[in-house]
């Protein structure tokens, strides 16, 4: 089996020169679902760097590798595409990188075009486009083991001649064919043929047809249809895409996923919480009391802790998302959800970002990059924070625990659980309503076409999933850390200065800028039933929603640093009316109590307009919802 994996043909048998010192620049291009990222992972291992391309929010993944000859190479993993005719920012990067026109990037010396060997028809057209560009490339026929298992016969020599490019067969997940691939790439780089003039331009419809005809001719000449075609995908689809059963399975899957995100993550999160609390305590105990200690303990350590505490949930969520993506199910989920989301004016692809937003809106907003159309993408970004993120849970748990009696309704449903469910549901429903309003009132006009390949089902490769998970975690930590940490420091400054006067009786925060601001804003919040302590808690709560719990502990002077919720909830029960508590919950469903999210929106949209729009609409909704909730509750006698 291994013997026929290898080099099929070489066009330019290498005129190898002495190994140059500068690393060769290589870029990977290919259709989505061709195993391009798996090949990238197999080639570069852990030597990867993820950043953004200059000026655009498209992820730039580069890895370094050493070819068998000792030659260093820098490999760029370009976003997957069906055509160089770009439709999304991601695809524009691929086009510009291939053409060597990407600002701040040196043109690649050679391209590796990655193709799914079992699905060559569409990629051949892309290959024909690459040929027009004139940059040397090698075609990697990936997943060749599956092609062989299906009995697919590909005349590699003929195909190589037709495309005038070397072809290497690979199995990225088993690391097969990689030395041969690198040898070919090195050959292309070493040959340094005077670059052919690029004759590529955006093809017209007629030219795409002609290219299809040419691709079809090559396909028929070189590929014999498989003896044992894949029938598994069709069988699985007849269940998973069944109009009713498919939706039920999807909802069950989502349910299991949320259970996992919230239950599996709890021990790790508690551990991290306890660890950071201990660290804060240790710092306070062992460093001299003073400003610097307070800054290190309450500003820096608590700040870092508030980011890291979400890592377990985000890892579990991304684990599920990666499994669903790698297995090919994610496209099916988008198919099943398209109509439901489309009714609210959202694109089927908005499903993944909105799903991620249940853990945290930040990775959710970052993943809206999969949406091609700008207006579809902005709508998704604007509603993503309405999804109940995990930072709201501590707040919800505290208030529900304090005010909602522990009793069962209808025999088996817990009333507390029901309220929690209601809060989640109002988040989802309002997100759909808001996007509906945005698309009907502000951005009228037709929706972007929905067209998506449904890839063949495959078993996710554990190594590949692990590597992608690691990459995701690193991106989250780096980006969230860069935004959240300075904000935490800012909030610490606001809640620390100025100091309370000598002989002050109240908690220190009352005298700080945050405290004064809270008291100043209190009359504004009185109509929705908030007392000034609640209002004060909202200000540091802008750094991250769950911080409000700790601040409530501080202003009511209970529990100390980590705010014992047991004592706090008893206290709140005596201090707040039920109407105020419900109003506080309603506020938290909508309020943009999260500066990091607004920061990410600014980064992703490259403008202050959208964070401003988001802030204004969410505050208005929050105020309205809290107002209605408070007054209805008071009218019902809960005041």
């Amino acid at each position: 089996m291994t013997s026929d994996i290898g080099v099929a043909a070489t066009v330019s048998d290498t005129t190898r020169k002495t190994a140059p010192l500068t690393p060769a620049r290589v870029a990977l291009v290919g259709n989505p679902n061709s195993g391009k990222t798996a090949l990238f992972n197999a080639l570069t291992g852990s030597r990867q760097k993820v950043a953004n391309y200059a000026g655009v929010t498209v992820e730039r993944k580069e890895g370094v590798l050493t070819a068998p000859s000792g030659r260093q190479m820098r490999v760029l993993d370009l976003p997957g595409t069906y055509s160089l005719r770009a439709r999304s920012p991601d695809e524009a990067v691929t086009r510009d990188a291939v053409l060597g026109k990407l600002a701040g990037e040196a043109a690649p010396e050679a391209l590796i075009c990655v193709a799914d060997a079992t699905n060559l028809r569409l990629v051949l057209r892309l290959v024909l486009e690459l040929k027009q560009v004139g940059r040397p490339f090698v075609l990697a026929l990936n997943m060749f083991d599956i092609a062989q298992r299906q009995g697919l016969r590909i005349d590699l020599e003929r195909l190589s001649k037709e495309l005038s490019a070397p072809i290497v067969t690979t199995v990225a997940t088993r690391k097969r064919g990689l030395p041969e691939l690198l040898e070919q790439v090195e050959g292309l780089v070493a040959a340094q043929k005077p670059e052919a003039e690029s004759v590529w331009r955006e093809p017209t419809a007629a030219e795409i047809r002609a290219a299809h005809a040419e691709a079809q001719r090559i396909f028929k000449a070189c590929v014999k249809p498989p003896e044992r075609p894949d029938t598994v995908t069709g069988k699985i689809d007849s269940v998973l895409l069944h109009p009713v059963a498919g939706l039920v399975i999807l909802l069950t899957l989502l349910f299991v996923m949320f259970q996992a995100v919230f239950t599996w993550a709890t021990p790790a999160m508690d551990g991290i919480d306890a660890g950071f609390a201990a660290l804060v305590e240790f710092t306070n105990a062992h460093l001299p009391q003073g400003l610097l200690t307070s800054f290190i303990a309450d500003g820096l350590i608590a700040g870092v802790g508030s980011v890291i505490v979400f890592l377990p949930q985000i890892l579990i969520l991304f684990f599920f998302i990666l499994m669903l993506e790698d297995s090919g199910y994610m496209a099916r989920a988008a198919f099943l959800m398209d109509r439901i989301m489309g009714g609210a004016g959202l694109h089927g692809r908005a499903f993944i970002p909105l799903l991620s937003s249940f853990a945290c809106a930040i990775p959710g907003i970052m993943s809206t990059r999969v949406i091609d159309n700008r207006e579809d993408r902005l709508t998704t970004i604007l509603v993503a924070p309405l999804m109940t993120c995990s930072a709201r849970i501590p707040v919800y748990t505290l208030i529900i625990g304090a005010f909602i009696p522990q009793q069962t309704v209808a025999g088996f449903l817990s009333l507390q659980g029901l309220v929690m469910f209601g809060l989640y549901a109002s988040g989802i429903v309002s997100a759909l309503l808001v996007s509906f309003v945005i698309r009907r009132v502000f951005w009228r006009g037709a929706v972007e076409p929905f067209m998506m390949e449904l890839p063949t089902y495959r078993w996710p490769e554990p190594r590949n999933v692990a590597m992608n998970l690691w990459t995701r975690a690193r991106i989250f930590m780096a980006r969230a850390g860069r935004i959240i940490l300075p904000l935490m420091v800012l909030v610490w400054v606001l809640s620390t200065f100025p100091y309370p006067p000598e002989g002050a009786t109240g908690p220190a925060i009352d005298y700080s800028i945050a405290g004064r601001l809270g008291q100043f804003l209190a009359p504004l919040m009185a109509p929705i039933g908030f007392n000034w302590q609640m209002t004060v808690a909202l200000i540091p709560g802008m750094a991250a929603r769950e911080v409000a719990v700790a601040v409530l502990g501080t202003v009511y002077a209970v529990g100390g640093e980590d705010g014992e919720t047991g004592a706090l909830s008893t206290l709140l029960k005596n201090q707040w009316s039920l109407a105020s508590a419900l109003s506080f919950l309603a506020w938290y469903v909508f309020a943009p109590q999260c500066l990091p999210t607004l920061g990410v929106v600014k980064r992703e949209t490259n403008s202050w307009v959208w964070p401003t729009v988001m802030f204004v609409y969410m505050v208005s909704l929050a105020y309205l919802a809290a107002f209605v909730t408070y007054h209805v509750a008071v009218a019902l006698g809960a005041g």
Binding site: T204, K220, L247, A334, L336, R339, I340, A446, L454
Partner: protein, 107 residues
């Protein structure tokens, strides 16, 4: 496998044809046939220009002469649909499927 490649670039709205040619938008699961015409005109209001829609359809493999089979449809409004175009499975909405005319040859 189909041999005929109709290389036409002029636009004509999809018309009802007596020889079993219907827009893909009107098809249901199990219907199969050969694509006879791809235009950018779906009959519905589109966010993209006709030329753009035509090119996107072509890039996903919706090209004259390709074999097509409707595999699945969604629950609400029987939308979107999943089709097999030659060897590729593609999901699309019925509105865009209106731009693809298919000569159906039975179930």
């Amino acid at each position: 496998m189909s041999e005929a490649f109709v290389l036409s670039s002029e636009f004509e709205p999809p018309a009802a044809d007596p020889a079993g040619v219907r827009p893909l938008a009107a098809a249901g699961p199990g219907d199969r046939g050969v694509i006879v015409k791809v235009t950018g005109v779906s009959g519905a209001e589109e966010a993209v220009a006709a030329e753009e829609l035509e090119r996107r359809l072509l890039e996903m493999g919706f090209v004259e002469g390709a074999r097509i089979e409707v595999l699945h449809q969604g629950l609400f409004g029987r939308d979107p649909i999943a089709v097999r175009v030659d060897d590729t499975r593609v999901a699309l909405r019925r509105r865009e499927a209106g731009a693809v005319s298919v000569k159906f040859d039975g179930r």
